[in-house]
Symmetry: D2
Subunit: 286 residues, 4 copies
C-alpha cells in the first residue's frame, strides 16, 4: 500500500464497450490521479470487473461527494460498486480455538503494521490464548461452544462482532463449523483458512486424508465462508511437497506454514479490496 491516502473503487457490471472510458473519464474530469488500476472481463459470463485507486488529494472534493457524483454512472452501467478510503482502517475480528500458529502470525503482522488494521477483539471457544491476546492490549472473549449451546453461542459471537463494528471475521484455525445464519449475516466478510488444497479433502482431518491417499503435495486454502462447508469462493491457495517419509504429524507441521502464509495473503487481498466475488469464484487483482 502507498503511504499516500487514496480511494479505492471496486465494481463489476455487465460487459459492453466504453465502460473504462466512462469511469476513467469521470475520474479525469476533475483531475483525479490514478495510482493503480486493474480490469478483467469474464468472457463466458460477459461480466466486467474493475478496481481503481485514486489519489485522495488529487480530487477537489471529499469521499461522500465522490460517491454521490459517481452514483449516476454506476447506475447507468448497472454496477455493483463501492468506494473505500485508505485512511479508514478495517476492523478485523479474529476467531481462534487452541492452535496458535495463525494467531501468533497475524498478531506479529498487526504489531509491525504490516497489516494496518484494527483488531477490536479476539473471540475463542477456549480460554487458552487470553493472556497472550490481552498482553497485546486486545480484548479477548471466551465464548464456549457445546453441542447444546450452538445457537446461543453464535448469537453471542454475532452480538460481539456487531458491537465492535467488525468489518471482517477471520477464522484463524477456528475449529468449529459456522452456522448458516452467521454465514448469511456477513456474506463475503467471513474468511476461513482450510488446511487442505480444496476441493481435495473437504471436512475434518484433511492431513489424515492426504496421508491415506498418498499425495505428494499438501496445501491450504483461504476462502470466503458460505453455508456449504468448505465450498465458498477461493481467495488463495498454496502447496508444499511431502513424501513417503512424512508422517501425518510432519504434514500437519509443514501445513501450518502454508496455512499462515495463505491466510495472511488472502486476508490482505480482501482488506485492500482486491477480491471481487463472482458467483462461487473470485477475481483477485493482485
Amino acid at each position: 500500500m502507498h503511504s499516500q491516502r487514496f480511494y479505492t473503487l471496486t465494481a463489476s457490471c455487465p460487459d459492453r464497450a466504453g465502460i473504462v472510458a466512462k469511469v476513467t473519464g469521470f475520474i479525469a474530469e476533475h483531475g483525479g490521479w490514478i495510482f493503480e488500476s486493474n480490469m478483467h472481463t469474464e468472457h463466458e459470463a460477459l461480466r466486467y470487473f474493475l478496481r481503481i485507486e485514486i489519489r485522495a488529494d488529487s480530487l477537489p472534493y471529499q469521499l461522500d461527494d465522490l460517491r454521490a457524483r459517481f452514483a449516476p454512472i454506476a447506475q447507468e452501467l448497472n454496477m455493483d460498486w463501492k468506494i473505500n478510503d485508505s485512511a479508514v482502517k478495517k476492523r478485523v475480528v479474529l476467531m481462534v480455538s487452541k492452535q496458535e500458529h495463525c494467531l501468533y502470525d497475524l498478531l506479529a503482522r498487526w504489531q509491525s503494521k504490516e497489516l494496518d488494521i484494527e483488531i477490536p477483539c479476539v473471540i475463542s471457544n477456549h480460554d487458552t490464548f487470553r493472556g497472550f491476546v490481552e498482553w497485546h492490549g486486545i480484548p479477548f472473549h471466551h465464548v464456549p461452544v457445546t453441542p447444546d449451546n450452538k445457537a446461543a453461542a453464535y448469537a453471542e459471537v454475532q452480538r460481539i462482532f456487531d458491537e465492535v463494528r467488525g468489518d471482517t471475521m477471520v477464522l484463524a484455525r477456528y475449529m468449529q463449523i459456522i452456522p448458516p445464519e452467521l454465514c448469511a449475516a456477513y456474506p463475503g466478510r467471513i474468511i476461513n483458512i482450510h488446511h487442505s488444497f480444496l476441493p481435495s479433502f473437504v471436512g475434518a482431518k484433511p492431513y489424515h486424508q492426504a496421508y491415506q491417499r498418498g499425495v505428494k503435495l499438501i496445501g491450504a486454502t483461504c476462502h470466503y465462508v458460505t453455508a456449504e462447508l468448505d465450498q465458498g469462493p477461493i481467495i488463495d491457495q498454496d502447496v508444499i511437497r511431502v513424501d513417503h517419509s512424512d508422517s501425518v504429524e510432519d504434514m500437519v507441521r509443514y501445513g501450518k506454514d502454508i496455512e499462515k502464509a495463505v491466510l495472511a495473503r488472502g486476508l490482505r487481498y480482501h482488506l485492500e479490496d482486491r477480491v471481487l466475488v463472482h458467483g462461487n469464484k473470485t477475481v483477485v487483482f493482485r
Copy 2:
C-alpha cells in the same frame, strides 16, 4: 544414473531389528560396494522398504548367482524383492492419442539418452503421429478403439505389448479408459499422467472442473493404473499457479508443462526401481 554398471536390489518386508545389517552384511561379505542406499519404515504398518545399488564389478559373481545367494535371506525376512541390472535397458511402450506434448517430450528424452530405454513401439488409437514416430525409427501401431471393439482392441494392445516384451506401458495422454483386464495383467507396470492434482477432479475434463471451481493452482499426477479410474498409487505430482485471468484454454496450456515434467519424473523413478508400492501408496526413493 551412474555410468558404471550396478545391480539394484529393491525389497520390502515386515519391520524388525537387524534387517539392514543382514542385507548389507551379505553384500559386504564378498566385498560388494554400495553406490546408493535408501531405507524407509512405514511405522503404522510396521513394514520396511529398502533400495540398494551395488557396483557390479565389486562382486566376484554374476547376477544370477547374486539372486540365488540372496534368496535364502529374503525368505528368512519374508521379503518381496527383486534385483535388476543397470546394463539391461527397460522396454517402454508408449500409448498416445491426438495430443503431442508428452510424445514429443518423451522422444526428446529418449533421443538424447536422458531416458536410457528401448522404445520397441508406440501404440495409438489414432494414426496422427505415425510419421513423427516412424521418423525416429520406432514402429507405430494404429489400434483404433470404438465403443464396439474395446475388448478386441485391448486384446490387440496386450498382444503387441507381449510380443515386443514390454516392461512398462506409459499412457502419454492416451485418452481412453484402460479396461480392468489389462490393468490386472500388468500390475505396477502401467503408468498414467492425469491432468489434475488428484484426488481433485477425477475423470474427464479436469481443467474445466478446475476452472468452474475457481482454484488458484492446477496440477498433474503421475500414477500407476488400477481398475478404479484415477485411484491408483501416486508416483509424483506438481502444480502451477493460475488466476482469474486464465481461461480453460490457458489452464490446458499451463497444465501441459506440468504433465510433461511430472510424467517424465515419475517414469524415471519407476524405471530406476525407485518406486515401491505399498497398498495404494508409494515409497519413492528419490
Copy 3:
C-alpha cells in the same frame, strides 16, 4: 488468446492524471470494444505502462486508420507505442546447437498451434537437427561458428534473419555468445534461455557452479539478449528443488524441464505483446 481478431495497443509514457481516460475515451469514441486491458505505474520512475486488446470488428475502420488516428494522442502523451494485429502471425527464427530439449519442445507447441507462429527457419552452428527440423517442413541453415569466423558467421545469421523477415530470434539453448553488433541490430527481439536463476551463476556451466555452491534450488531465466552477457531484462524465471543426492547430471536433467517451460512462457508473453521493457527490467502483463 481469443479466437476473434483483435488489435493490441502497447504503450508507455510519463505518468500524469488522465492517461487511461484519454486512451480509452479514444477507443470508445467509435464503439471500440476492449477485450482485455492492463495498466501499471512505475511509481519511482513516474512512468505509465498499458496494454489494451481491442476487438477488430468493433471498430469501423482498419488498422492503418487506427494507427493514424491514435498518433496525435500518443504524441500528446509523449508515448512509446505500437499497435499489432492478432491476424498477423509473428515470424520466429530458432537458433539451436546440439541440445534438443528446447527445440523439440517449441516444435511440439508450434505443431499443435499452441504457439500460433511462423517458423521461417531454424539456424544452428551444428548440423545435428537438420533431419528433425526438415521433417517438420521447416528450412534448416547450418552456420558453423569457429573462433576465426565469428564476424562472418553472425553476418550470415543476420542476413538469413532479415531475408526471412524474422520478428523474433530465440536462442533455444544456442551455446554461443551473440556478438554486440547482433544484439544492437535487434533490441528487445532476441530472447535467450539461461540455465540458471539469474543473477546467480552467470556465464558457462551454471549447473556446475550451482553444484559447487550447494544451493537447494536450481532455476532458469528467460531474458532479452543485450551486449552484456546474461544481464538483459528478465522476462520469466522458475526454479526446482534439488538436494545433496543430486549430481551435476541430475541438475542438468531437472534444469531442462525448467528451461523448456520458462522459455515457452517467456516467448509467449513476448509474442502476445505482454512484455514492455523499462530500462533493464520488464513489465509483464500476464
Copy 4:
C-alpha cells in the same frame, strides 16, 4: 520426531565397501532397532555420510556405553561422528534486532512444542522485544552494539551463550555482522536466515537489489554462519513469485513469509541432527 526415545548416530567417513554393514551389524548385535536410516555417498569426494535413529529401549545398555562400544568401529572407519539422545532437549539462543516476524514465529513453534527445545534466553541489540519475550517466561538480554563496542558486545554475547550452555545460536533476522571470532568459536552451531536466494544478493538490502535487477522470484536462505559474509554452507532455501507490480515493500513483505518458513525448517533439520556439513556444502537427510 517419534514420541519414543531414540539415539541418533550421525557420521561421515571415507567411502569404502562394507561401512553400513559394519555399523548396522554393530547395532543389530545387541538387538538394536533402527527407526530411520539415511545414507549418502559424495561420489566426487568419495566420502560417506550416514544418520541412523536407534530406539533407546531396544539396546541393553545406556548412551555412554553405546558411545564407548561404537568408538573402535568409528576409529577403524576413520569417522567424524556423534550420538545424540532425543531425550536431551537442545538449548537454542535466539538473537534478534527490531524485526518481529521470525521471533514471533519461533516462539509460536516453541510454545506449541512443535519445536521441542529449551530457549534459555533471547539476546538483542535493541530492547524492543523485552516485554514480549519475558511474557513467555524467557530471559531477555539487551546487548547494544555500536561501532565502538563491537568486541566487548560480542564477548558479552559469547559469555551469555556459554553461561546458559547454548547448543545453537539462531540469528533470527539479527541485523549485525557476526565477528570472525564468534563464528570460529561455534562452527556449525550458528544459523542465520539471509533474506535472499543466495548466492544472489549477498550483503545489505537484498530486496532492493532484487527489485533493481527485476527478478521474477525472490527467496531466502538458511545457512551456517562462517567468517565470510553470507558464504556459509546452505541448509535450506525457498522462493516466492513476484512481478512488476510489486514494490520493494511488497517484496519485503512476501519475503518475510519465506524467511520464517525456511529458518524454521533449516533449524529443525539442524536440531534433529539431519544436517551434515561437508566442506562448504550440506547433506540434509530430510
